[in-house]
């Protein structure tokens, strides 16, 4: 038997982009294959082994009763469980259904909703099991992903930045889009890690790395967002890839409250 750490990549509801980030590590992929024993990575290998795993990377959110069973099982087999990306850490874009009437969503897509078996919510992995480390991003950043894997291989906790998008944006030398162009930007409240790319491309940050460690959401809304947007537009804008993260969700609900007609009261595991 191989003495290398047993490594698994497991997917739940997601776009595949975060695990693709691993396959996009063109320069490091073959070395990673030497440093770990890839026990389960269905997108990359037909060789699938049962647990236990030393390191499990989890992509995607929990949206079906079956996936709820799978994540509990995976946790029980994994020494270290790391969630990668916005779906796994905050429920992802599909968590928009948590704010809406689930049945209305089903009807909008499927002609025969009675055949669809799904929970009424999309929830982050940490809502169901203990998570050892959460890596943010929609998608995760390649360099951060490799740092996290390397840190756990060395047995230390990763040190990913918790500063906001603004700090690296300034270091990059980008002229502030809010100040110079009056463009709404979520940079001040969003965690860094993407490279502050949106302002460098003349557009406002849309929060795909989720809330930063210290945020003043109301101040951002009043002094930036509401200068050019209506409260509904601002609330809607906060409700995107990390819209179900508590910090973004509560400000979004303050700006754009739910009405009874848009919210199903059912938050449990309804299956049809």
């Amino acid at each position: 038997m191989s003495k290398l750490p047993r490594f698994a990549v497991v997917k739940f509801a997601s776009c595949d982009g975060c695990q693709l980030t691993l396959l996009d590590c063109e320069d490091e992929l073959l070395a990673l294959g030497e440093a770990v024993h890839i026990a389960h990575f269905a997108e990359a290998s037909s060789h699938l082994e049962e647990g236990p795993y030393d390191i499990a990377l989890v992509e995607g959110s929990i949206t079906t009763p079956h996936d709820l069973e799978r994540i509990l099982q995976l946790r029980s087999m994994s020494r270290t469980l790391i969630t990668i990306g916005a779906c796994a850490t905050s429920g992802g874009i599909q968590a928009l259904k948590n704010f809406a009437d689930h049945q209305e969503f089903l009807k909008a897509v499927y002609a025969r909703p009675e055949y669809i078996q799904t929970l009424s919510t999309s929830t982050p992995i940490s809502q169901h099991v203990k998570v050892d480390f959460e890596l943010r991003g929609c998608p995760v950043d390649k360099v951060q992903l490799l740092e996290v894997i390397q840190a756990y291989l060395r047995g230390v906790r990763p040190k990913t930045s918790t500063e906001s998008v603004c700090q690296p944006c300034k270091r990059r030398g980008t002229v502030c889009v809010v100040v110079a162009q009056g463009v709404p930007c979520l940079g001040p409240v969003t965690q860094a890690g993407c490279g502050s790319i949106c302002p460098a491309f003349n557009r406002g940050c849309y929060g795909c790395f989720g809330p930063a460690a210290a945020t003043n959401m109301m101040s951002l809304s009043e002094s930036v967002l509401l200068q050019t947007m209506t409260p509904t537009e601002a609330g809607k804008w906060l409700r995107s890839f990390n819209g179900y993260s508590p910090v973004f969700a509560s400000e979004s609900l303050r700006l754009w409250p739910l009405t009874t007609s848009t919210k199903s009261q059912n938050n449990g595991g309804d299956t049809q």
């Binding site: 595949d16 997108e43 990359a44 998608p139 949106c198």
Partner: protein
Amino acid sequence: MTDSASPNRKIHVPILTRVEGEGALNIVLGRESIERVELNIYEPPRFFEAFLQGRNHNEVADITARICGICPIAYQMTAIQAIESAWGICIPEPIYRLRRLMYFAEWIESHGLHIHLLHAPDFFGCASGLELAKKDPVSVQRGLKLKKIGNQVLELLGGRAIHPISLAVGGFFRLPRREELLQLVPHFEWGLQASIDMVRWIGGFEFPEFDSPTVYVALQNPKEYAIMNGAIASSDGATVDVGKYEQCFYEEHVEHSTALHAHRVGNPLPYQVGPMARVHLSYDQLSSTVRSLAEEIGWQLPSFNPYHSIIARGLELVQAFEEGLSILKSFDSKVEARVAYETAEASGCAATEAPRGLIYHRYDLDQSGHVCRAKIVPPTSQNQRQIERDLVQILPSMLAETDESIARRCETLIRNYDPCISCATHFLKVRRTKGVES
């Protein structure tokens, strides 16, 4: 293992591997017949069409990108072109060329991934690209380097390789500087030669003999190898404007199944989209380099052998590098990044060629530029019926084999289509039972 005395053999592949997204395969075989083939897709539904209702048109590209991390450009570009078509926005030629380069970059990344890490291992009896890298390090390393060039273009033009952020209704949020593009020229020069060598490598593979007659459907444009602009052509002769897509193709929510399957109106047979369809329908628009390469490796068209899809992907990679090189060298950076436009109540549609085939979007927009209704047809929901048909056709020749061998060979067959289950936002649990007369 199989019990030869048992009337039925059940073969279960719980997780389809080396495909994007999650699915399973269930096969029930009688002594001399195929009782059941179920492609069970358990990828959870994510309701994109519902999320899009009420969203600002500027958010549509960012939201639809999240349908698929492997082909976000296909979603972004199709969405943006559909909105531009609704409002009659014409983009300048240099912007169109730059978008085409970006689309090629996605093909390079996606085809490069599929050829080297997902598909080629099947031709060498390997479980993964990493295992193949031990047997044939030169080819796999070359493949990773090719794929990386696609990602470098996406990073330059789009800020990042997965879910890029630069495409906007009316053009781009930011244009690259000419010198930034020129820095990529040496990489593309290398990539062109390396992709030609790669096709020669693929030409040496041993391909299983299997013909599965099909109708190919792809965009076609007399002026160029169609990706973002053209009419929808079929190999049985029918050609329709993209605006007529919904009159000629429809999706069905099958009873006893939760899949939406795409059909052609008045035609019960499945059709196929993707690189095989494109190469067949637009062969004359491929460059002379690509066509002579196809001849050199002895690939004869038409081909209805789905295992040949890796050749089609390979040839498209050469086309992407060759044409991409000319766009890089000739880009005129004096153009405005975005054209101005006004919102209006209108509907617009567009179709483009995602790496896996034709993708169609339509948006109904209101006066203030918000989405009232969205419709998205991804490539995999169109190919799914063809995949199932192939399985039913190939299984009778495998009845004498072990369960393990049948499972492996069926998975290999499915992989020919590079199915993107994450893309197929519509289908959830495909339990399709096909009685086959013995």
